[in-house]
């Protein structure tokens, strides 16, 4: 538990979009997928996922439909819309720029200043 990082505000949406971009998933599946692709390094409270999901649906970035899960249970599956795909690209770029900038700022040595 201790080596898991708390999410930065606003990054949950990006992670959801990314997880769903790899194929339609239901809520619990999204959670597992995020854990899997982040190498289990990110801590997401399970309940916190749903407000995020509904928000993305309302913004038209995700679309949802009921289906049957691999456990043979009824579940709501989410997939990216065209707008969602576009948003994921933009957010990924923004995040990469930000991460690079922060990383290089943190890596700066006294003699480089």
């Amino acid at each position: 538990m201790t080596d898991q990082a708390q999410l930065l505000p606003g990054t949950l949406d990006l992670l959801i979009l990314r997880a769903v971009s790899l194929g339609a998933l239901h809520g619990y599946g999204i959670l597992l997928r995020i854990q899997q692709i982040s190498g289990g390094a990110l801590l997401i409270e399970q309940g916190a996922l749903y407000p995020g999901l509904f928000r993305l649906v309302r913004q038209g970035l995700l679309k949802a439909s009921w289906g049957t899960s691999e456990n043979n249970r009824r579940a709501k599956f989410y997939e990216l819309t065209a707008a969602g795909r576009k948003r994921l690209r933009q957010e990924t770029d923004t995040w990469n720029r930000l991460a690079t900038a922060i990383a290089s700022a943190l890596a700066a040595q006294p003699e480089e200043v």
């Binding site: 809520g27 399970q46 749903y50 407000p51 995020g52 509904f54 899960s69 456990n71 249970r73 709501k76």
Partner: protein, 302 residues
């Protein structure tokens, strides 16, 4: 947006909200079951797995609230909160609130009062077949330029003028005691004394029974017959067609019901609907002043 479509969208917000909430509950429950499935696969009993899934999920209620907000289904709740808030604010300043309400009430009352008056006076035609052919004759006397006619004057007008298809007369009766039979307690009603040709000239035929006959207003006090208004007929007799030829009492005097006026004829008055019509010749029965002779006195304009 009109009033009714506002109501409709409010109603659908309520209905959809129920559906959206149900769907959300289903989804959250599905999540818990999937998690429990995984835990069960790790070798935990089903009940324990479900309990743990619920614990791991975190504050169920809190997330449900957040999710509901994210769904945008909060419109109605917010509206009610706003209403409650405004009521509380109004209660804090009772003086101002009362002042504003009274001002609004008076304003609305005055406007709607004026409107119903104009509506009745100008927009509504008389409820007769040819409303445009009706004129009202007004008497001018030395002390009034807007007076009634005496009965003698009416007779002269009726018999000597040639400009009209017919000349009718009527006189209001306020507060007449009506009882359906001799034993029941009289009730206060309002009627109208009319000339024998009244309904006939207006082109109004009773829906039930017969019209007045012309000779029924010739001899004072002889023909105690009454035509009921449709509303009064329904109210007092439950719309019973057997009312014809029944004897009723007006101020204790027995009258025979001869007809019921049609539904579309509520009377010629603007703000008052007579309950019944009786011949003008029955006036002496209701007179309180025995010295007066309504039929002879040319100056009796009351």
């Amino acid at each position: 947006m009109s009033f009714f479509s506002t109501i409709r969208s409010l109603a659908s917000a309520f209905l959809q909200r129920g559906q959206v909430n149900r769907e959300m509950e289903d989804e959250l429950r599905s999540h818990l079951q999937h998690r429990a499935d995984d835990l069960q696969r790790a070798g935990i009993s089903r009940t324990e797995a479900e309990r743990r899934a619920r614990l791991e999920f975190g504050g169920f209620e809190k997330f449900r609230e957040e999710a509901r907000e994210a769904l945008g289904g909060r419109f109605v709740e917010t509206l009610f909160q706003d209403i409650r808030f405004s009521v509380r604010s109004l209660r804090r300043t009772p003086g101002l609130t009362v002042f504003v309400i009274v001002t609004l009430a008076l304003g609305i009352g005055m406007v709607s009062g004026t409107f119903s008056m104009v509506d009745a006076l100008i927009f509504r035609p008389y409820p007769v077949p040819h409303p445009s052919g009706i004129v009202t004759l007004v008497s001018t006397t030395h002390d009034s330029s807007f007076d009634d006619f005496s009965y003698r004057e009416y007779l002269d007008l009726r018999d000597k003028t040639q400009s009209y298809a017919g000349v009718i007369a009527n006189s209001d009766m306020k507060a007449v005691g009506f009882s359906a039979d001799a034993s029941s307690t009289p009730r206060v009603t309002g009627g109208m004394m009319v000339s024998g040709n009244y309904l006939h000239v207006l082109g109004v035929e009773p829906q039930l029974g017969r019209n007045f006959r012309l000779e029924e207003d010739q001899v004072p006090g002889r023909d105690a017959v009454v035509v009921l208004s449709p509303e009064f007929w329904r109210r007092e007799f439950g719309g019973d067609p057997a009312v014809i030829n029944r004897h009723v009492r007006l101020n204790g005097v027995e009258f025979t019901v001869i007809g019921v006026a049609p539904e579309k004829f509520p009377g010629m008055q603007i703000f008052d609907r007579p309950d019944f019509y009786i011949p003008l010749a029955m006036a002496p029965v209701f007179s309180t002043d025995l010295q007066k002779n309504f039929f002879e006195d040319r100056d009796d304009r009351n």
